[in-house]
């Protein structure tokens, strides 16, 4: 595996707010990474640091082996699709698609045209008259057709309907398969993207809580449901991520179980339910929240 970008001890403070707090991680070549976390967790700031749009308070960022800030040879290979991209007031989408090829050497105009058609984007309408979804589709099309070796999508689909989002996922997967590249997808629609991701980062209150392959993360937790005393007996001293109780029933989420433990649970009359990536992220960031409140 080749590292495309890395952050070491990276922090960004805005006054007393630690938007990014001592984060160390690496993006590997030709992987689709998910950057997950709640609103205000620090996802966008982290991507701005990686693309040289913000300067770190401390720590370092290397992208293609160099610092990204004001570095044309790095930024030429990076595409950053922002949630709220601004365009000049009098622009129409056609101006965007006329100018973007200047910045991306792998730009595929034919692919862009196909996507414009599929997303039904009106090229000649002033951008300020576009709907929120149409505005988002401009970003999605630019992000896909630029085929930049390192592409960031920061909440790319605000206002996009379910059909358009599915279209985005399908085109991303198909084009990624044909032209492998490194992708970072930041989103809170976790269930929709969980099967697309190869690697997952979870960030909360500026801190990196999870840095794991999506596959490992998926099998890292199970919910055990049954009679409360049987559940508690089975759970024993395991780390409990979450516990719900209803009368004599309990539902407890614990760290991953191996096959023998699964059989033991079934033999004890307990039901096992999978924990989705989204539930897991909710559990993880929810726990961190409590810890934070206790320590604050």
């Amino acid at each position: 595996m080749t590292t495309i970008a890395e952050a070491t001890g990276l922090s960004k403070h805005f006054g007393a707010v630690r938007a990014v707090d001592d984060v160390t991680f690496a993006l590997e070549e030709d992987r689709i990474h998910g950057l997950l976390g709640r609103n205000g967790a620090g996802k966008s700031t982290l991507m701005q640091l990686l693309t040289g749009q913000e300067f770190a308070t401390s720590g370092s960022v290397r992208v293609f082996g160099a610092s990204p800030a004001e570095n044309a040879s790095v930024l030429r290979n990076v595409c950053f699709i922002k949630e709220s991209q601004r365009y000049p007031d009098d622009w129409k989408p056609k101006h965007v698609f006329r100018s973007t090829p200047w910045f991306f050497e792998h730009w595929d105009a034919e692919f862009a045209e196909q996507l414009i058609d599929e997303f039904r984007l009106p090229l000649g309408r002033p951008i300020k008259k576009l709907s929120r979804g149409q505005l988002s589709s401009i970003g999605v099309i630019v992000g896909l057709a630029s085929r930049a070796p390192l592409t960031f999508f920061d909440e790319p689909y605000l206002g996009l309907d379910a059909v358009a989002r599915q279209l985005f996922y399908d085109r991303l997967l198909a084009d990624y398969a044909e032209h492998p590249r490194t992708v970072v997808l930041s989103t809170h629609l976790i269930d929709e993207v969980s099967n697309l991701l190869e690697h997952v980062f979870v960030i909360d209150q500026g801190r990196l809580l999870v840095d794991s392959s999506a596959e490992d993360l998926r099998s890292s937790a199970t919910t055990v449901v049954g009679k409360a005393n049987t559940v508690d007996e089975f759970v024993g001293g395991r780390e409990v991520l979450h516990r719900d109780a209803l009368g004599g029933l309990a539902s407890v989420t614990v760290a991953g179980l191996d096959d023998a433990e699964r059989r033991a649970a079934a033999a004890a009359g307990l039901e096992l339910a999978p924990v989705s990536l989204q539930q897991l992220v909710v559990r993880i960031t929810g726990t961190a929240q409590k810890e934070f409140e206790v320590s604050a």
Partner: protein, 118 residues
């Protein structure tokens, strides 16, 4: 692709099922990793992992530059493997549930016979 087991295992199992059912005959070409990924809407690396599991097991083989094919004799080998697992995966849980409901082994045997003749 929605239970709690790793997705690549689920994909491998699904391809195995298609070989068992005859939908993918021996010596026939199977879809490419990218086609599997697009169809199931999963990461191509994950799809590759599932397919490679079957290549390692000798169920599929690669022809350079052409694609992947079902190995001759793969169906028999899969049948043997699945029969071995049948006891622990199906018979055990069946007996357990029967016991929980107070169904005796004799009653269970009768049920299976009756179900089979219908």
């Amino acid at each position: 692709m929605d239970d709690s087991r790793p997705i690549f295992l689920q994909l491998a199992e699904q391809i195995e099922n298609e070989i068992l059912s005859g939908a993918l005959p021996e010596e026939s070409q199977v879809p490419s990793t990218n086609e599997f990924a697009a169809f199931h809407r999963i990461n191509p690396a994950t799809a590759g992992k599932g397919v490679n599991l079957l290549v390692d097991d000798g169920i599929l083989y690669k022809k350079r530059g052409i694609g992947m094919f079902v190995t001759a004799g793969a169906r028999e080998r899969l049948l043997a493997k699945r029969r071995e697992g049948f006891r622990t995966e199906y018979v055990g849980p069946l007996l357990q549930e029967a016991r929980k409901l107070g169904i005796t082994t004799d009653q269970l045997t009768d049920m299976i016979r009756n179900e089979d003749t219908q």
